[in-house]
């Protein structure tokens, strides 16, 4: 396999910078302001809730991107770490009434701890083992949270009234210039602030020494080991950080719905994150956010508009009305099909289309060429 020797040194240097040039810096600033301002100017509660759910799943997908996109380990068990986050939020924020900053940090720490605990099992040998372990985690997690009654309230679930104020900012009712915003608006701002934070963390890791090491192990693990990178340490690091970010998404989910049920954290939830990642663009900075804007709001959107599809029924339990999927079934069906179609047609996701617009897509890359994350994960013998 040929190494990427064609990349010129200045290009690498540009890639290592947080932002490339002033127009891009201005663009990032505009997007940031827009993400914060949009919930405040939207008046429809429905669209705000779509945006909030998209933001929360964006956080989880950004974390997954670090592990799957950059470190090259496919996880189907991300929903387990989201569950860890949701329940530790219930524990620290709900049961012990800690403030927003404290419970968010505690949630991230719990996620990291869960990742650190499981890394020795999951990353024992390379290959499909990691995938299999993460599948096992999802089922083990549901069993664990179903039975841990004192914390989770069992299969029936537990309420999560979490404190949401950070110093002068109260994310239950933000007030700005004398105007007070609704809980939904304020929480949406919090979610997208954390999207920005997660983006910054992952982007900074990906351009650091550790991040370069992750990509090296993904692209050619043997060569990476030869130059002195410890595969286990690098992959475990990615796993831990990614779990911590997933846990933060779980905390947000609990705070938003204010109720946590073990069954929420199923394979279907993991599938949602994976389809966000593939639709958006694997191993691209903004891919997970683009994917989340397209896919992340899907459950809410289908709940509202699904009825206009002829094959979607409001309630399949009611007999008659012919064959049809419920909105929940149609949501899962869409995740699966989006995943299949994108992998077949454009495995680089929507991000590459945007990059093409931006004009930075490598001119040499043919249409069929795969992103590094895929090209280099091809089977070696």
């Amino acid at each position: 396999m040929s190494a990427s020797t064609s990349i010129a040194a200045p290009a690498v240097a540009a890639e290592l910078r947080l932002t490339r040039n002033w127009p891009q810096r201005a663009g990032v600033a505009v997007l940031f302001v827009a993400a914060i301002a949009l919930p405040l100017v939207l008046s429809s509660g429905f669209w705000i809730s779509v945006l909030t759910f998209a933001g929360i799943s964006a956080v989880a997908a950004i974390g997954l991107n670090l592990l799957t996109g950059y470190a090259g380990e496919l996880s189907i068990g991300h929903s387990f770490f989201v569950a860890v986050g949701a329940y530790s939020a219930v524990f620290f924020g709900g049961k012990h009434g800690q403030t927003l900053l404290v419970w968010l940090l505690a949630v991230a720490a719990s996620g990291a701890a869960a990742g650190a605990l499981l890394a020795p099992v999951a990353l024992r040998i390379r290959g499909v083992y990691f995938v299999v372990v993460t599948i096992g985690l999802v089922f083990f997690g549901i069993y664990l949270f179903d039975n841990w009654n004192s914390l989770t309230g069992g299969p029936g679930g537990v309420g999560a009234a979490l404190p949401l104020s950070l110093g002068p900012l109260d994310f239950r009712q933000l007030s700005l210039g004398g105007h007070t915003f609704t809980r939904e608006q304020s929480f949406c701002v919090l979610a997208w602030l954390l999207v920005a934070l997660a983006l910054l963390v992952v982007k900074n890791i990906s351009r650091s020494r550790a991040g370069r090491a992750m990509q090296a192990t993904r692209d050619n693990d043997l060569a990476a080991e030869v130059v002195g990178i410890s595969l286990f340490r690098v992959k475990a690091g990615a796993f831990i950080v990614s779990s911590a970010i997933a846990a933060v998404a779980g905390g947000l989910l609990a705070a938003n719905i204010q109720y946590v049920i073990p069954d929420q954290f199923s394979l279907e939830l993991s599938l949602q994150y994976l389809s966000i990642l593939i639709v958006g663009g694997l191993a691209s900075t903004y891919g997970p956010v683009i994917g989340a804007l397209v896919v992340g709001g899907l459950p809410e959107l289908l709940n509202r508009f699904g009825g206009s599809f002829p094959f979607v029924k409001e309630n399949t339990a009611i007999a008659g009305g012919g064959w049809g999927l419920s909105t929940a079934q149609f949501t899962v069906f869409s995740y699966g099909m989006l995943l299949v179609l994108f992998l077949l047609i454009e495995p680089r996701g929507l991000a590459v289309l945007l990059e093409r617009l931006y004009g930075t897509a490598a001119k040499v890359s043919g249409r069929r060429k795969l992103p590094p994350a895929f090209r280099l994960l091809r089977r070696r013998r």
């Binding site: 394979l267 299949v340 992998l343």
Partner: protein, 303 residues
């Protein structure tokens, strides 16, 4: 807490465990065949299970086709579906993308299939109206259901047929050749495409048969949840060493018996559903103690 230990209970649990283990062995073998043929993990086994059970229900219980005929038709149909999936979807991913893409595509297809099945047949357990029903025979003090005897018997026959096919038939030899050295097999005129197609067909057949057995009345009827057995069957795959058919069979039996022992002997404080996660506990333990599996070889990487 008194552990009521009696030989009857032990024998009862072992017998039921072996029957369940046979089904795990069949499903695990489906995974192993595809892994062996191309080194890729397909998660669609659960889909074969679901379709096998529900289509048999539709043909036999709903449309009155005789049970044997229904099973044969379903098995043939699912073998074709396996070939079609490989031809239409998997093959297009094979040349360029990684095993990654296949895992993702197959789990996407699996969950899409699951929602279609649930939309069509609903979530209530359905009675397949299988010929065995809930009848038992008594071997001494141990009650064994007719269905379990049939499951064990047909698994033995299927496995024997499989190993003979694998060892002596032209296509079986081709499959082993591709598994051991892809390029060399290709140079000998063996088509990897044919091998891939055949391995998907076999995986489909094994999955469909296991699905029918999982959907019988004695196993609790046809439900959308039966595809979970396919995930549990990943434990025997790892236990056996990923690409070892014999290992997968032994792993299946071990995991099946372990699951039933967990159901029978686990103290109440372990909570509900402990037995259903037993396969994953076996999986985690195997990965900690002997990650290459029972019959797997230690991974040696050469550049």
């Amino acid at each position: 807490m008194i552990l009521a230990f009696s030989l009857t209970t032990l024998g009862q649990l072992t017998a039921s465990g072996l029957a369940l283990g046979c089904l795990y062995a069949l499903i695990a073998l489906g995974f192993v065949i595809i892994l062996k043929a191309n080194g890729i993990l397909s998660l669609y086994q659960g889909g074969f299970l679901l379709l096998g059970a529900y289509l048999t229900y539709q043909l036999h219980a709903k449309w009155g086709v005789s049970f044997v005929l229904a099973v044969l038709a379903v098995v043939a149909g699912i073998a074709l579906l396996g070939v079609a999936l490989e031809f239409v979807v998997i093959r297009r991913l094979r040349g360029s993308a990684a095993e990654f893409a296949v895992v993702l595509v197959t789990i996407g297809l699996l969950l899409a299939t699951q929602s279609l099945v649930a939309a069509t047949w609903g979530y209530t357990p359905l009675n397949m109206d299988d010929p065995w029903g809930l009848k038992n025979v008594h071997l001494g003090s141990i009650a064994v259901s007719h269905r379990d005897i049939w499951v064990v018997g047909s698994t033995v026959v299927i496995l024997a047929a499989f190993f003979v096919l694998f060892k002596y038939s032209r296509v079986g030899i081709a499959m082993r050749a591709v598994a051991s050295d892809r390029e060399a097999a290709y140079a000998q005129g063996i088509s990897p495409n044919v091998v891939m197609g055949v391995s998907w067909a076999i995986a489909g057949i094994l999955g469909a048969l296991a699905g029918v057995a999982m959907g019988t009345a004695a196993a609790g009827g046809v439900t959308v949840g039966i595809d979970q057995a396919a995930f549990a069957a990943l434990a025997p795959v790892i236990f056996g060493g990923l690409t070892s058919p014999a290992g997968a069979v032994i792993g299946g039996l071990v995991v099946g018996v372990a699951q039933l022992f967990a159901a029978g002997y686990a103290p109440e404080s372990f909570g509900g559903g402990f037995s259903t996660v037993m396969p994953y506990i076996v999986l985690f333990v195997v990965l900690l103690i002997r990650p290459q599996g029972l019959l797997g070889k230690k991974q040696v990487r050469r550049a």
